[in-house]
């Protein structure tokens, strides 16, 4: 911990860490006043563009107009994330630790950090991508200002970063997973894509999550629902059945599969599934009751797309 007196300890890194040197070749963009969020997104986007068939959806000037709040002379963290998503990237806020930061660097994922260059009583907030670490010199490399890969002493970096609560975010093209992600937090991030109307990107993200956490029921369920909502009913059915192989009493999977069965003229099987639901939760009971009612009154077949 950095004390508020401003005296930074000699080495802010966790004891016994074995962080090695990393250097990520992130294209550099010269800073423009008040637009460090947009510039940071731009740099990370062009980095991914050099590595894989990712095409940014927005130009740098479109990113500018989506991020700047003129009267504040800067960009909110939420809007940095929203603009990155609009640019076709998944934005995953990392845990506020050096471990999380270094695990992303080790997989060559640049991390955009928020730092306060001054004190809390005169904050000078700034976003910049971290592009590496020099273990010998103990410096963090980042596109901080006018110089590419500026070497910032680790003590200084720690002090500036700590003032933002160690806030950092990785921006990744669809199909890539953050090195430091947990299944649950990644799912929420991927689900955000769906919420703002990017279902195809969300489906890719769920699938890549399943490549790491293959039997994670919440992720499977989200994928099943995303298929359902985009009218890919056969795929949705397969996923709900897969959940039931792992947990045959899963009430949501039972309910949603029953719904599909009813809409595809398999009402008897649908009712049998609903009979398996055991729950004390009133909301789930209401849900099941409604589905049962719908099955009895006859479901309208899905409209073929």
């Amino acid at each position: 911990m950095i004390s508020s007196s401003g005296c930074a300890p000699k080495n802010p890194l966790p004891l016994n860490n074995n962080y090695s040197s990393y250097k990520i070749y992130v294209p550099f963009v010269t800073p423009r006043s008040e637009l460090c969020a947009s510039t940071s997104i731009g740099m990370v986007s062009s980095y991914w563009q050099t590595l894989m068939p990712y095409v940014p959806r927005l130009s740098l000037s479109e990113l500018d107009e989506r991020t700047l709040i003129p009267a504040k002379g800067g960009t909110l963290q939420i809007e940095l994330i929203a603009a990155a998503r609009a640019n076709g990237l998944l934005a995953y806020p990392i845990e506020p630790t050096f471990d999380a930061l270094f695990s992303e660097l080790s997989e060559h994922h640049p991390v955009i950090v928020l730092v306060n260059r001054s004190y809390s009583w005169y904050p000078l907030w700034h976003y910049a991508p971290v592009t590496g670490y020099d273990a010998k010199e103990q410096t963090i490399l980042m596109h901080f200002g006018d110089t590419p890969n500026e070497a910032v002493p680790i003590e200084t970096f720690a002090a500036l970063w700590e003032r933002s609560g160690n806030w950092g975010v990785v921006l990744l093209p669809s199909g890539q997973l953050p090195a430091s992600a947990t299944a649950e937090k990644f799912l929420r991030t991927a689900y955000d894509l769906e919420k703002i109307g990017m279902p195809d990107e969300a489906i890719i993200a769920y699938k890549s999550a399943l490549s790491r956490w293959s039997n994670d029921i919440p992720t499977l369920f989200a994928l099943g629902n995303a298929y359902y909502n985009s009218h890919q009913i056969t795929e949705a059915e397969q996923i709900y059945r897969k959940i039931l192989l792992i947990d045959f009493k899963h009430p949501f999977a039972l309910n949603n599969l029953a719904d599909i069965l009813c809409h595809t003229n398999r009402s008897d099987e649908a009712l049998k599934l609903l009979d398996q639901v055991v729950t004390d939760n009133i909301e789930i009971q209401v849900l099941i009751k409604n589905t049962r009612k719908e099955i009895h009154s006859g479901c309208i077949p899905f409209i073929k797309k």
């Binding site: 909110l76 609009a86 001054s118 700034h126 799912l187 919420k195 309910n255």
Partner: protein
């Protein structure tokens, strides 16, 4: 005002559309620990939050042509966080301090150090050590 009306109709149409689509299935939201069925009251609160954000953005000088797209790219949670905390959230800014800011900053520091008696820059200060 035109912006907020457009926004309202957009959000309403999106929410109505999704409601029709998944009237019977359990949503992903429900599994993630939020309420299983979002009430119409909650929906209304979310719509109002988005309107608030749009209004604040207008006041803070954001080009009205882009406000709709900016607000639409936020999730409900994000929009409501901005609506409630826009005055206190940090805004990452430029790469350096402005000249005027630097002058004010240096002035304040020297003023304090003068008063503490470790500098003697200004004639009008009286050190505590005197």
């Amino acid at each position: 005002m035109k912006v907020s009306k457009l926004l309202l109709s957009f959000v309403l149409s999106v929410s109505l559309f999704t409601q029709v689509l998944s009237a019977q299935i359990a949503s992903t939201e429900a599994l993630l620990g939020q309420s299983a069925v979002s009430s119409s009251k909650e929906k209304l609160v979310q719509i109002i939050s988005r309107e608030d954000v749009a209004k604040s953005f207008q006041e803070l000088g954001v080009d009205s042509k882009i406000i709709e797209a900016r607000v639409a790219s936020m999730t409900d949670e994000e929009a409501s966080k901005i609506a409630h905390q826009i005055d206190t959230l940090p805004a990452g800014a430029d790469a350096g301090m402005s000249v005027l800011g630097t002058i004010v900053f240096i002035f304040l520091v020297l003023l304090v150090t003068d008063i503490l008696g470790v500098t003697k820059v200004f004639n009008f200060t009286k050190s505590m050590r005197n």
